[in-house]
Amino acid sequence: MATITDAGLEYFAKFFNHNESSDIINKIRIGSGITAEAVGNTDLATKYTNLGFEEATASTIEVLNTTAHPYTIHLQKVFTNGATVDREVWECGAFTSGGVCVARHVFSPYELKNAGIVQAGQTITIDIYIQITPDDITYEKSAETESADLTYSFESNFIISATVGTDAIDPSTYTCERGKICFNGVVLPNASPPMVTEARGGKTWVIKCATQTYADVTKLVNKQGLVNVGVSVTGYQYATSLQRYGTLKIWENGTHTAYNNCLIAGPVNVETFGLWYLFELTIIQSYYGEV
């Protein structure tokens, strides 16, 4: 759930009240702040303001009235990280055209796939659903007389709530440079041909890498985690970690083959040789995906 703000609630009342506010709900902002949601919020805690992550008009604005989403306005926007570094998304909000923060949401750790990390050049899709739930109607009628009107009176509440989609980042959608091996879209630099062992339902790859750019090392090493590997009662290999599962893409026969539910087993040791950084990645695939 996201939090409908006081300002958002007032906006709804103003809009309904003979268009006292003519703003429409059409803007989405994302940010890296982790300050808890509060009804008094008027903006994100730490919003992004540039390089593709700045406030944007929703590319999809639609009204849903389905079983899953009754009386709901849906906003969607795909943000592309135009920076040269990874950026983390921890919060998002729906705003009116006049800048009123209607709703704000702070993602829980691991709520988003790939832990909210958006690599350079990659995208994150934000979906915000704002729903009106009409309460029971209290109804009264006054009797008509010669001198009085016949009066029908309705009284009720509109309950406003908001939710945010949690499938914002799917690592299997990350693209990989032609001819390369990638983990979540990050190229494994100068990767050696992988040494593969296969268990039932999952594989394990050991790949040696080398680079002269330390930033290329950190992009991969920060995805490592201690991995617990075993075999389930049904005989399939499982692998668990505090890191989220990623996707390994290997160039094979002129195209990339994607392997989902993969983890980089840590610790990854990095050695130096002259100007080079050398490291070996062990990537383990689980038969089972996200719980």
Binding site: H18, E20, E144, S156
Partner: protein, 111 residues
């Protein structure tokens, strides 16, 4: 005939206005008489007040040819979107001998 009060697709219309999918229109009260064909009366001068998150609408559409009518439906809808009533009561079969039928709506926006 049983009296039924209910919400209608006017809520969807409200959201469509908020999303900019349609231009906002006013909310006159309306009623349907037992004339044939049924008559819909508007009130383009309805009153509206807001106190915080409470909005109150009061409308009194006038019959264009005052007589005795049976009001079989009364409610509030969006002008030019009368099929998308917001809230209504049906099955009233109330006779009116003057020209006014008043419809009031008190709506509180809460979370």
């Amino acid at each position: 005939m049983a009296v039924v009060t209910e919400w209608g697709r006017g809520i969807v219309k409200l959201l469509e206005f908020m999303g900019g999918l349609y231009s906002y229109t006013t909310i006159p009260g309306y009623k349907v008489t037992d004339e044939d064909p049924a008559r819909v009366e508007y009130d383009t001068t309805y009153t509206h007040t807001r106190t915080g998150n409470l909005v109150e609408l009061n409308t009194a559409p006038q019959l264009s040819t005052p007589d005795t009518y049976n009001v079989v439906e009364a409610g509030i809808g969006w002008y030019s979107h009368t099929l998308n009533y917001l809230v209504r009561v049906t099955g009233t079969e109330d006779a009116v001998t003057n020209s006014n039928t008043v419809v009031n709506l008190s709506l509180t926006f809460t979370r």
